[in-house]
Symmetry: C2
Subunit: 445 residues, 2 copies
C-alpha cells in the first residue's frame, strides 16, 4: 500500500482532513473501495457492499461541505457495520441462511447516531451465525490460514486491512475484544448499557454490548463519543452525561497509572507464548506500575453463570428460527440452544443477580489500580477457519458489563498479533481509554 | 369517634393545620395513638408500634416549627409503614418467624423520602408472610369476621379505621388494591419503577411495586408527590420529572373523562353482587362516559405469565429461608416456591418479555379512553381470616406495571365496601389520579 494513501488515515485525522478541505469524502471512500478491491477476495470482510451507495453518501457529504452546512464530527468518514445491526439502506442477514434477504425498515440506534455525526455507512461486515460461534467467510488479514476471531469477524478484519478506519461490532462473550486481538487492531467494549442496542440482533439482553473497532485508542474514543448517547428504547440504558471520551483520553493521567495484572481463573488455558509475553510485559512495566492481583472466589463461577444466561437467552431468542428450520442452524448453536432450554428460571435469575455482586467485588481492585491488565484471548489467532477461537478471557468482563479495551501491543510465537486487554470499573470508560492511551504511547509504535 | 377528632383529618388537611398552627403534630399523633388504643385489640393493624418514638418525632416536628425551620410538605403527619419496608428505627420482620428480631441498619428509600418530607413514622403495619398470601393477625375494620385483604393488611386497616391518615404498602399481585377495596379506602399502585423499592423486601423484581393508602384521591396524590423520586439504587427506575400529582389531580379534566369498562378474562370469578354493582355503575355513568371493551387474546395468558414470574422469583428470593427453615414457611408459600423451582429459564424470560407486548396492546384502549374501569377484587371482603381473598383482578395490571387506583365507591350484598379500580397507561399517573378524582367527586360522599 503506497504511502499517504487516505485509506491509512485514522478516523480522527480523516475527519480533520475533510473538514479542512485537504481531502474529500469521495477521495477517502474511493481509496477505501480500492483497498477493498485489492484485499477482499483474500480476506472476505464484507457481507453487503454497495459501492454506489457508499460513493453517493460521500458525494452528498462533499456537497454539504461545499454548501457550508454544519458538519458532524465524523463528516464524510466511512464506517463498517456488523451485519447483525439493522440498516435501512442495506440488508441485515444476521449471519444465518434463515434470515437471508432480510431487509430492515429502520436503522439501528447506533447507525442513526453515526449518520447524524456525518459518517458514511460503508457496508455490512461479516458476522458469525447470529453473532455466536459458527464462522462466516472472513480470514485473518495477517494469515489467511487463521481465523480472524468472531463474532465481529468482518469488522475486525476490515479495520486491520485498512478497508475502513473504523467499524462497529458487538460482544456477548468475546466478540469484539477477541477478533480485535487476533487481527491486531484496537477494540473497545464500552460499559453495558452505554450504547443503545436498539436495532441490534438480541442475543442475550443482560450481556449484549455494542463494540467498536479502530486502529488507535484515540479513534475508539472519537467513535465512542458519537454513539454513547442515551436511548429509552434500550431498556438497560440510563441517562448519562456525554462521556467526553476523546477529551479525557487525549489528556495525560495526573499520575502514572497502575495496573492490576489479573491472570483470571482460566490462565491455564492461555498458550505458553502468550503467558510468557504477558509475564514479560508485566516485568517490563515494572513493579511500580503492575502488580499481580487474584480475583476472589466468586469469579471462579463467572464463566458458568455467563453460560446459563447466554444459552437460556439463545434458546428463547432464536426459538422461532429453531422451529422454522433447526436443520439450518449450526450443530454448535443447536446444542447451545438445546442446553439453554433445560436451565431453570431460578438458576437464570441467580446468575443475573451475580452481576452486581461481582462488580462490587471488583471495587477494591479499582480503588488501588487504574485498570486491570489481562489477556484478551488465549494467544494469537489459531490456525484453521472452522472456529473463531476461545472467548473465555473476555467472559468475566462481558458478564460484569465493565468497559474493556484491547491494544495490539504483543506478538505471538508465529509473529501474529496478540492484544493487551485493559478493564475498568463500570461507567468509567473515559478514564479507561486515558489509561489505555498512556499504555499505547508507552509501548506502542 | 367524636367530631373534629384530628385523627379523622386527611393527610393534606392535617399538614395544612400543622403548618398554620391550628394543630400540633403532637396533638395529631396523640389523637391517632388514642384511636389505635381504642381499636387495635379488635383490628390488629400494627406489628411494631413504639408510642414514645412516634411522640418524640412529633415533638421534634413541633419544635422545628416553633424554631422557624423549613417545613416539609408532610411536616408532622404520621404515616404507617408495611413491615416489609426497612426502617432503621423499628424492626422489620417481613411477616415471617424466620426474620423475627430483624433490625435493619438503614431506612428504605421510601421511608427516607417520607422523613425528608417531614412525616412522622408511626410504626410498622402487619403484612402477610413475606408479603405473599399467608395472613397476619389483622381483621377487617368493618367486620372482624372478615379478612382485611393482603398482603398490606395492616396498612389498609389502619387507614380505614382512622389510626393514621396514610400508609405505605406494596403490591406484587393484588397487595395494595385488594386490601384497599376490602377495607373501604383509596389505594394506589403507581407505575412500575416510579417509586424506589430500595430497602423493600424483594419478592419479584419485574412486578414488585410500592403501594399507597389514604382516604381520598387527593391524599394519594399528595403522598405520591413525596415518594415518586428517582433512585439509582432501584435498577428498574428511570429518571422522571416530578409528577406533580396533586396539582394535576386537583385540576378539572379539560373534557369529561371516558372509561373503558374491562371485565377481564376472569369476570366469571367476580361474585354476583359485585357483577351487578359494576353493571349498575356503568349504566349510571351512561354510555357517553363508559363503554365496555374486551382485552385482546394475549391477556388471556397474562395470569399464567404472572405466575411463572412470581413463583420463579419466590423460589429464588426465599431460597435461604427455605434452606434454613422450610418448616417455618406456610404450606402455601412452600408449594409456590416448589413450583417456582421447576420453571424453565426460557419460560421465565418469555413471560417477562410479554410485559411490553401487553402494554403495547393497551395503547389503543388508552387512545380512546382516559382510564380502564374494572373490579379491584371478585367482590366484598370474604368471611374468614384464614386467607386474604383472591388477587386475580389485579394480576394483569401488576404484570403490566400500569398505574392503578381503587376508590371505595360501591357496596356488596352485606353492606361491605367494594372498590372501583381505575387503570391508566404507564407513566401517566397524574392523569389517572385526575380521572379518579373526577369519578370520586361525581359518585362519592
Amino acid at each position: 500500500m503506497e504511502e499517504n494513501n487516505p485509506a491509512q488515515l485514522s478516523a480522527l485525522r480523516a475527519a480533520q482532513a475533510i473538514r479542512e478541505g485537504e481531502l474529500t469524502s469521495e477521495e477517502l471512500v474511493e481509496a477505501c473501495l480500492t483497498r477493498i478491491a485489492e484485499r477482499e477476495e483474500q480476506i472476505g470482510a464484507w457481507k453487503h457492499l454497495d459501492e454506489e451507495f457508499a460513493l453517493r453518501q460521500a458525494r452528498e457529504a462533499d456537497l454539504a461541505k461545499r454548501e457550508g452546512k454544519a458538519l458532524g464530527p465524523l463528516h464524510g468518514v466511512p464506517v463498517g457495520i456488523k451485519d447483525v445491526i439493522d440498516t435501512a439502506d442495506l440488508p441485515t442477514e444476521n449471519g444465518s441462511p434463515l434470515h437471508a434477504g432480510r431487509r430492515p425498515t429502520e436503522d439501528a440506534a447506533v447507525v442513526s447516531l453515526l449518520k447524524s455525526a456525518g459518517a458514511v455507512i460503508m457496508g455490512k461486515t461479516v458476522t458469525t451465525e447470529f453473532a455466536v460461534y459458527h464462522p462466516g467467510k472472513t480470514k485473518n488479514p495477517h494469515d489467511p490460514n487463521r481465523t480472524p476471531g468472531g463474532s465481529s469477524s468482518g469488522s475486525a478484519a476490515s479495520v486491520a486491512s485498512n478497508m475502513v478506519p473504523a467499524a462497529v461490532g458487538s460482544q456477548t462473550n468475546g466478540s469484539t475484544i477477541r477478533p480485535a486481538s487476533f487481527c491486531g487492531v484496537c477494540g473497545f467494549k464500552p460499559t453495558h448499557g452505554s450504547i443503545s442496542r436498539y436495532g441490534m440482533l438480541p442475543q442475550s439482553r443482560p450481556i449484549d454490548h455494542v463494540g467498536l473497532f479502530a486502529r488507535s485508542v484515540e479513534d475508539l474514543a472519537f467513535l465512542g463519543d458519537q454513539v454513547m448517547v442515551f436511548d429509552t428504547r434500550d431498556p438497560d440504558m440510563r441517562p448519562h452525561a456525554a462521556p467526553r471520551l476523546l477529551d479525557v483520553a487525549a489528556s495525560e493521567p495526573p499520575v502514572a497509572p497502575r495496573f492490576a495484572f489479573v491472570k483470571t481463573p482460566v490462565w491455564k488455558q492461555a498458550e505458553e507464548d502468550a503467558q510468557a509475553a504477558f509475564e514479560e510485559l508485566a516485568e517490563r512495566l515494572g513493579g511500580e506500575v503492575v502488580e499481580e492481583v487474584e480475583l476472589p472466589e466468586p469469579f471462579h463461577s463467572a464463566i458458568e453463570w455467563h453460560q446459563v444466561i447466554l444459552e437460556s437467552n439463545l434458546a428463547r431468542n432464536f426459538e422461532t428460527e429453531y422451529e422454522r428450520g433447526k436443520d439450518q442452524l449450526s450443530d454448535l448453536l443447536r446444542k447451545m440452544m438445546e442446553r439453554g432450554k433445560t436451565y431453570l428460571a431460578v438458576d437464570y435469575t441467580r446468575a443475573v443477580e451475580k452481576v452486581p455482586v461481582l462488580n462490587g467485588l471488583l471495587g477494591e481492585t479499582f480503588e488501588r489500580f487504574d485498570a486491570i491488565l489481562t489477556p484478551p484471548a488465549p494467544g494469537q489467532a489459531p490456525l484453521g477457519l472452522g472456529a473463531t477461537g476461545n472467548p473465555v478471557f473476555c467472559t468475566i468482563w462481558t458478564l460484569c458489563g465493565t468497559p474493556a479495551v484491547t491494544l495490539p501491543l504483543l506478538e505471538g510465537a508465529d509473529g501474529m498479533p496478540i492484544g493487551v486487554q485493559l478493564v475498568g470499573p463500570k461507567g468509567d470508560d473515559a478514564r479507561l481509554l486515558r489509561t489505555a492511551r498512556w499504555l499505547e504511547s508507552r509501548l506502542g509504535g
